[in-house]
Every structure is written in structure tokens, then in C-alpha cells.
Symmetry: C2
Amino acid sequence: MNDLIQTMLSHRSIRVYQEKKIPPEMLEQISRAACSGSTMGNMQLFSIIMTEDKQKMREMAPYHFNQSMATNAPLILTFCADFNRFNRYCACRGCETDAYDNLQSYHWAITDALIAAQNACVAAEALGLGICWLGTITYQSEAFIRVLHLPERVLPVACISMGYPAEQPEMTDKLPIEALIHREIYEDYTPTRINKLYAEKEKHPNTLNLLKENNAENLAQIFVNHRYVKKDNEHFAEQLLASLKKQKFMK
Amino acid sequence: MNDLIQTMLSHRSIRVYQEKKIPPEMLEQISRAACSGSTMGNMQLFSIIMTEDKQKMREMAPYHFNQSMATNAPLILTFCADFNRFNRYCACRGCETDAYDNLQSYHWAITDALIAAQNACVAAEALGLGICWLGTITYQSEAFIRVLHLPERVLPVACISMGYPAEQPEMTDKLPIEALIHREIYEDYTPTRINKLYAEKEKHPNTLNLLKENNAENLAQIFVNHRYVKKDNEHFAEQLLASLKKQKFMK
């Protein structure tokens, strides 16, 4: 196994951090890695907002549901799909700036932002830091837009907390890779195949603990009835659509 | 500088490949890296379709505008946002499956898919392979849905060609990282700042060549008037929205 790939295979989310700050030269390496990924037409359609200020972190924490990562990390990186900078450049050179106010532009920009985000994660882990994604970043975009002063054509799409780990969690149980990979065409999942692919996961100690905690009969119930319930998902979807429109990505 | 970070900093897109196939053990490492990234609630909401069959590649090539990467790569990986597998699992366990037919679910799934895609890219480059993203994957989603047999709740969101490089392009000119990074709050771009941040790029040999080729006065004109024009972008945006609806991500 290639050593570099080993870093990626060893990934686990870290939710509790030491108080120690990330040294500037480390942050520089992570930033450079984040900005070195592929980008649509070399337009570099993303921005990264670095939060180190504890007051700013406290302002954002409630919108991240006060998860530990949102309150005790020395650094939070918010990755934004950003067509504002490129549009301002176009305006400065006398070009029309209404070509990129649509969902296709958003797709380019979210892609650039997520490439940058994942590069930052791999770089941080290669340097011995721990990271965790905060899925909450899109639930109440409007709050983050306000707190981070984001103009139109900028939408937060990913959020990563980062720091020296203060915990050593086990690896997460994952589906076998043949569950995720298809050869030439998509092979849809029959009940027999689902049972086979989820068998290991369903008897994993992580799952058994979750079932006990949630008083549930199976993993599906935990998600559908407790964790990510229809009503909340649809509410957040409405908010996200409203933010896409407000930030000019849905003409 | 850390070796893995060095790999990321050395990234450049490779558009021409040797005929040599990627050995299975290498493909195994890339697949495992792709499937080891963070994923929303450990739901693993993505699928990867591997295309090695030349006939299948020829079927897809026109929808990638017959770019060299789409015709001469030994391997094309299409990354899909996928809520189908998880939904089928929920159905097999007797749960309702209408909780994840919305834009928030799509955001989770596209995030998982793009994390996997970027991990695959970093892994491939760590092994000495070259990669290139094909932004064309969302322009005519419906064609890829048909050719790859994608069911509802599966949408292709990223496409990577991969192989042994048969070219050694220069590094692409990029904006200085201070153009992309903001401290605590977003610092909007004044014309003075835009001029300063784009100065190096505008006098870069790559840019000067592009201006000559396109008979344009500045880089902005190339994008707005030639490469990504309003009419095309809006057309592709409509297609993408239609596919999001068709694949059940926009209830």
C-alpha cells in the first residue's frame, strides 16, 4: 500500500480537540493544498473563510447546533461556492456579469469549493491534525451569510473543524467497496443484495450501540425516525433553495 | 514539505494518456481511498461507475464534446450523488422512503460524491497517474443517466478521466492564495484589489496565448464571450434542474 494513500485510508472524524493552536506554517501548507486542486476553467470559484476568533465561533455555534466541533476547535474553515470574485473581475474588465447567475454556475462553484475542502482535509490529516465536516452549514445558510458577511453569489457549502486530536476514535464501519462501485453500468440493488451488502454493518458494535441508544430495531429506523426526519429535511431544503435564490444562483 | 501535500501542490490536469491500462491493484488502492472519505451520517451517499469498455466510452464521448480525455483515457470514473441505495436499504427494513427526495438530501449526496472524487484524484496522483475533471458531466445529465442506466435518486455530478500521462503540461497559473482566503469575515473585492490580485495572472504567458488565440482584449472576454457564454450556461442550468427533478431530488 502506498504510504500517501494510507493517510486517506486512516481517516476518521475528530470531534474533540486540544486547546493548542495550529501553527501558521502548517496552516500555510493546508491553505496551499486547498487552493491547488482542479477548478472549472481555472476560474477558482471558491472562497475559504477562516474562523479562529472565539467570539466569531460562539456566534456561529448555535447554527451548528452547538456540536463540540463547532465550539472547541481552534480553527473552523467555511468553504463557499463563490462567483462574486470572478464576476467582479469581469465587471472591472467591462464585461457583462449576468452569465453566471444560474444553477450550472452554482454546480461549478460548489464543485470547486468541495475539491478545495477535501484537499484541506487530506493535507490536515497528513500533518497529524484531526478534522470533522459540519453538515449543519447548509441548514440555516442565511445565518452564516450574515455572520460571515457573505455577499450575493457566495454561498457556504462546506464547513470543516480542525485541530490537534484530543480523542482517538475507532475507524467508522463502512460498506464494502463493492457496494459503492459499479462496472460499466449501474447495477441496481435487489433486497438480496442489500441484505448481503449491509450484513457486516448491521452486526457491527457501532450499530448495536446505536440501536440500544435509540431504542430502534434497525439502522434504517434510526435515520428515518430520529436522525434525519422528513419534516426537518424538507424544512432545510426550503431554506437552502431560498438561499440559492437570494445569493443569485437560481435565475 | 510533507510528501502527500507536495503531491497535491504538484497537481496539473492531464488530458492525453498512454494506452497502458491501470493495473488492478492500483485501481483497488484508488477505489479504497475514494471510499474512505468523510460521509454524511455515515450514509455513504455516492456511487462510482467505472468505464473501461471502449464501446461505452464512445457512447459517452459526444456528451463530453469528444474532448481528448473522454476518448483516449483507459479509465473514466463517473461519481454520482446516490440516495437510491440508502433508500432501498430503508425500504428493506420497512421504513418510509420519502424523507430524502429533496434538495437538502441532494446536498448531502453531492458532497459525499465530490469528497470521494477528490480522494480518488489525490490517490491516483500519489501513484503517478494523471487525472482530469470533465465538467461536461452535468450539461446533458439525461444522456449519462441513460447510457449508465442510472435509476431515480442517482445523479452524475463529477467525472474524472485517469491514466498514465502522455504529456507533461506546465503548472496552471493560479491566483495568489490571499485572493481565496478570508480571515473571520468575507472581505469583498474592490476594483483596486481585483487589479492587484489578477495582475500576475493577466501577464502570465498562458493568458497572453489565450488572448491571441481568441482575439480578445482580456481574460474576462474569453470567458464571457467565448468559453462559457450566458445562453449556454442558462440552457445547461435548465437541463440540470430538469434532471434534479426527474431523479427525485427536488420535491
